[in-house]
């Protein structure tokens, strides 16, 4: 079996069994923080891979994609309280809700490209922020508080870990599928030249909107799990630009429009972030470093790590999924 298959499979097996070390605290100690980091990584992988579908392949750069994270979180949170079930049962509902919202937003904003689109994505976050801050039904600025799950501390992260892992795998697969399908080909054609694509017989609107809805659906699902993980859903947590900026940065860092780019970018950024955190603590400088990294990457590695390696022909096989 070549490395392209073997390395991911081995990694997957390790990831699936890794949390089980929590059953042996005497041997491994309490690795809750590592679990946190890993599920945080999977969570961002879902977001970066989803973003990549419309941003990387479609060329529509959204700096406000976490608007849909928020919608998913609120749906899951609200109905979780209403119906008394764990948000985990509402993942699909959250995703569908976010997808429907994404459908209508996409119909409007996908009509324009470039700067207008970017601005509309920022405006979306602002609009939602204003609305959610004042919407009494969902708690206004204080948001919704969810109960902790009933598992004991060492194992409390398990559902989120596996939830995000599964979601990440699905999203990455979706990314791969889009990349290698006719749908993906049409999408990439559209990102180059919409008029020529239309002339070639591609139903531009359908493809654009579908790609957008796909990306928002998965982010919505992630929102549900993240809401349960945080146990609260608040506008000032979910609707900050920093999250969107991180997602964009990770994808660019890894390589826009590739399958493994978002994954690589996520891992590297989170590792980099951890490094900064351990030296400087969580300060406002986070924003500074993210910005700096974005600027440097754009100036010198616009194709990201995977992209640059690919162009030079030096991409390792196990990262070359397209």
């Amino acid at each position: 079996m070549d490395s392209r298959k073997s390395i991911p499979i081995i990694t997957l097996i390790i990831l699936i069994f890794f949390p089980l070390i929590q059953f042996f605290p005497s041997v491994f100690g309490d690795q809750n923080y590592v679990l946190h980091l890993m599920l945080y990584a999977f969570y961002y992988m879902v977001m970066t891979s989803s973003w990549n579908i419309i941003g990387g392949y479609g060329g529509f750069i959204s700096v406000g994609h976490n608007a849909f994270l928020c919608i998913g979180a609120y749906i899951a949170g609200y109905y979780s309280i209403m119906w008394g079930v764990s948000p985990f049962y509402l993942i699909l509902l959250a995703g569908i809700g976010a997808g429907i919202f994404g459908f209508f937003v996409g119909l409007i904003t996908l009509r324009v490209k470039g700067p207008s689109f970017i601005i509309s994505s920022i405006a979306l976050i602002m609009i939602l922020r204003i609305i959610f801050d004042r919407w009494e039904l969902v708690g206004g600025a204080s948001g919704i508080t969810l109960p902790y799950n009933s598992l004991s501390v060492e194992f409390s992260k398990f559902p989120h870990y596996y939830g995000f892992l599964i979601l990440a795998i699905i999203t990455i697969y979706m990314n791969w599928y889009v990349r290698h399908s006719k749908f993906g080909l049409a999408l990439r054609a559209i990102s180059h030249d919409e008029i020529r694509s239309a002339v070639a017989g591609i139903n531009v609107k359908y493809i654009k909107v579908t790609a957008f809805v796909l990306s928002t659906f998965f982010i919505g699902c992630a929102g549900a799990i993240w809401a349960d993980y945080l146990t609260y859903v608040r506008p000032n947590i979910f609707l900050i630009i920093l999250i969107a900026a991180n997602v964009v940065l990770m994808v660019i860092l890894g390589g826009m429009g590739t399958v493994t780019g978002p994954i690589v970018g996520t891992i590297i950024f989170i590792a980099f972030n951890e490094l900064i955190l351990s030296y400087l603590g969580a300060t406002e400088l986070n924003l500074l470093f993210t910005g700096l990294l974005l600027v440097v990457t754009l100036l010198y590695f616009p194709n990201g790590i995977v992209g640059t390696l690919k162009n030079k022909g030096k991409l390792p096989r196990f990262l070359d999924w397209g």
């Binding site: 904003t109 324009v112 470039g114 601005i119 986070n286």
Partner: protein
């Protein structure tokens, strides 16, 4: 009466927004760069004005040239570091916008680190004063800032229309290729326009410092508002920005006065989405070569 008052004050505020957006539209017109970092430059100007006042007692209106100089310098440095590479590009690109986005984050992080996210506002005596005109109660902060904004915009307009450099700037924003063929040093025009845009941001920041309470993260809100104004007014058109700013801000003020203050900023974003719905290509369309 109250309506008239709201409209007048809305107009004044609109002119301030217009001044804030002028630099943005200028930079886009000449270089096709959507400078998402523009609002943070405005904030730099605001912080400069604040500290000039608090530490040295300099009135923010007097401080306008100083703040403009600070942001102009910052703009020059940013241009050299970040944008000069791209200045050769003739068409807009997403990457450049993301570059400005990154720059905005860097500056936001720096400001937040040094000044923390506490709300500040400069308080010269007229900030809390007001003029009574018959039954109209007109706070001088808004009034003065509105009038000065108009003055600055008119000065800019005159410069662009009559000075040699101003003509060169307008020619370059019309057609870079043609400008070069006519003997205009396009690279210099780009550099100058960028610095001018940043200087305008600083000037606006000085005014803004006593009109709004500000903190580093406020620039995200301003990005959305200013970009809405620029898109609606037509990218690269200063007159367009002024008109759309005047109209929208008046509407927003009316909404704020009669419905709820919190919803007033919503007007700008809703207008943006409406514009996208109705006439998406008209705005940027003709500038994408």
């Amino acid at each position: 009466m109250f309506i008239i008052q709201t409209i007048i004050l809305g107009l004044c505020l609109g002119f301030v927004y217009a001044l804030m957006a002028t630099g943005l539209t200028l930079i886009f017109g000449v270089m096709r760069i959507v400078n998402l970092a523009h609002p943070i430059f405005i904030l730099v100007g605001a912080f400069a004005a604040y500290y000039l006042f608090v530490l040295y007692g300099i009135d923010p209106i007097i401080a306008i040239p100083l703040c403009a100089a600070v942001t102009a310098l910052l703009g020059a440095i940013t241009y050299k570091l970040v944008f000069e590479k791209d200045a050769g590009a003739q068409t807009y690109s997403e990457m450049t916008v993301l570059l400005t986005f990154g720059t905005a984050m860097v500056l936001d992080g720096t400001l937040s680190y040094f000044f923390k996210n506490t709300q500040r506002i400069t308080s010269p005596p007229y900030a809390t004063d007001a003029i009574f005109l018959g039954e109209l109660f007109l706070p001088t902060a808004q009034l003065y800032s509105g009038l000065i904004s108009v003055g600055l915009i008119i000065a800019l307009g005159l410069f662009l229309k009559f000075s040699k450099l101003g003509i060169a700037i307008r020619a370059t924003s019309l057609s870079r290729v043609n400008a070069e063929l006519v003997g205009i040093d396009v690279k210099f025009v780009c550099l100058f326009s960028f610095i001018l845009g940043c200087a305008l941001a600083g000037a606006a920041g000085s005014l803004v410092s006593f009109v709004f309470s500000f903190f580093p993260a406020k620039h995200w809100e301003w990005i959305a508002i200013l970009m809405s104004l620029v898109v609606l007014g037509g990218m690269g058109s200063i007159l367009g920005v002024v008109i759309s700013a005047a109209i929208l801000t008046v509407i927003a003020s009316l909404v704020g006065a009669f419905i709820a203050p919190a919803w007033s900023t919503l007007v700008f974003f809703v207008a943006l989405f409406l514009m996208l719905l109705i006439k998406p290509h008209g705005m940027f369309g003709k500038y994408l070569e």
